[in-house]
């Protein structure tokens, strides 16, 4: 019964057993989740956003709760690309035997290029996800994600030095996301990944100050799902390269909805934090949901709702 359902998808030559990929920043470097279940059931997973140099991130509080979601302002805390390569990517090999998605952030074209060149050489990196959309760091990331010209510039510069598929992760905090996606595609992106978090804020009524030390943070979780779905749909209609959809995915049904909107693969972020088994449950639920909806092969529904 289960085998009748084909979950595999293909992105830029990379074949995934299923489209479910834990999203960057919500899965660490995998280790904490390997204690809960065998990660080899995943399509792949995206490592914590990595920068050329080590970063301590933002002061706490970094987390705030919202209706059906959360804000984070972690601020790209990571040990830097060299340590990620020598320690984390090696450690991953002991519990995950598939290629991972290397999520790379930066504050200048040079930094992106340096970090990407390095991870590109790692044998267990299957795909590079260029994060040009982190809302939680000043003077960097997000600026690239809100300007088509800058997005194209960093894409082209990185594309010139990498051999692995290069996916650019877009910011939803823009007027026209398709415009930015098209600029990245034209600059050589092999695919697009979206959405990163929506910029939000909460105030502590008792202290009358923002809850987050960083004042603002990124909204994620089910609350953003309809916005993410709309943007995935807009980008999928605009570009020819594959799209990785994410934002608020919490169930097998949500994965299918994202794929119908045009996603080839789907990332699951915040839901891992509130339920460490989230991705496992989604993967296990998919065959039954597909059966109920009359879906034989998942790849057949990619963009089903795009061309109407």
């Amino acid at each position: 019964m289960v085998n009748k359902h084909d979950l595999s998808v293909e992105m830029s030559g990379l074949v995934l057993d299923n489209p479910v990929i834990p999203a960057s920043g919500t899965f660490g470097f995998g280790e904490e989740y390997a204690a809960f279940y065998d990660l080899d059931i995943l399509g792949s997973f995206a490592i914590k956003g990595t920068t050329r140099d080590a970063r301590a991130g933002n002061p706490t509080p970094r987390i705030a709760e919202c209706p059906a979601g959360m804000l984070n302002a972690v601020g790209l805390q990571n040990p830097g690309v060299d340590t990620v390569i020598s320690r984390e990517l090696q450690a991953i090999k002991s519990f995950f035997h598939k290629p991972v998605v290397a999520n790379i952030s930066g504050f200048s074209v040079e930094e992106y290029v340096d970090a990407c060149r390095k991870v590109d050489a790692c044998d267990n990196v299957g795909l590079i996800e260029l994060n040009i959309s982190c809302p939680n760091v000043h003077g960097g990331g997000m600026a690239f994600g809100t300007s088509p010209a800058m997005a194209a510039e960093v894409t082209a510069a990185v594309k010139a030095v990498v051999t692995k598929p290069l996916y650019v992760k877009l910011s939803p905090n823009v007027t026209d996301i398709a415009e930015i996606a098209l600029a990245c595609e034209a600059a050589g992106a092999d695919g697009l990944s979206l959405i990163n978090t929506l910029l939000g804020m909460r105030i502590d009524l008792r202290t009358r100050k923002p809850v987050l030390a960083n004042r603002m943070g990124g909204l994620s979780g089910p609350a953003v799902f309809p916005v993410a779905l709309r943007m995935v749909h807009q980008v999928a209609m605009a570009v020819k390269v594959p799209v990785i959809g994410m934002g608020g995915v919490a169930s097998a049904e949500d994965v299918i909805e994202m794929m119908m909107a045009g996603a080839t693969a789907v990332q699951v972020g915040s839901q891992n934090l509130v339920d460490p088994y989230a991705c496992k449950k989604i993967i296990e639920d998919l065959p039954a949901v597909m059966a109920r909806l009359g879906i034989g092969a998942l790849r057949d529904i990619i963009g089903a709702a795009v061309s109407v």
């Binding site: 919500t26 706490t60 979601g69 984070n72 972690v74 805390q77 934090l273």
Partner: protein, 242 residues
Amino acid sequence: MTDTQRCTIVENINIAKDTWQMRLTANTAGFAPGHFVNVAVPGFYLRRPLAVCDYDDAGFTMVYRTVGGGTHALAQAQPGDVLDVLAPLGNGFSRRQNQKVLLAGGGVGLAPLYALAKRLAADGCAVDVACGFNTADEVYLFEAFTGVAARCVAATADGSFGVRGLVNAAITGENYDWFYACGPTAMLKALCQTLPGGGEVSLEERMACGFGGCMGCAIETVNGMKRVCKDGPVFQKGDLLW
């Protein structure tokens, strides 16, 4: 092993002003003093981190203050209701044997010290407990601590119960081999700065996952960035940049 489990509420009672005690059935294999749990509260996106106050083979107890939506919703739960709990979490308190130790707890921070006091007493320690509350109507667990501690002194800010003053006013002994503290950050800082010997404190931070996956709770320590949920919540006095 840390895992999610469905725990049935056995008791959920108001034990002091805005203070509730909930007992749940659970598999408590691996639980130790200083651990906490992360409780899914229906209708709220994030789980709520709450310390383990006491535990035995059949389940565990937590004491919580109703401060916001999540804890107010918890206070509405009824015996028989089932909660999704991720447990046990955190590093827990260190073990000491045959030492003279001080346990200092402020408000709801007193709760996690209870299982600790029991273990320390069983391990031959002389346990002094100092507890601080705002007012007499917020006092809880005092009787229980009196039963396991060598000495148990309470302080209230308004003097309505025990001595008047902050928790340090309830510290009557000297020359402790080690101290353990849990409570408001200001109290912990003050204790770390004034108590002469070594000791450890249990911290609070806003958390998303509670098991080390998101870096949401990471603080700077002398050993670099550490996650309060996974590398803590218990930190040695010397680890902190206070």
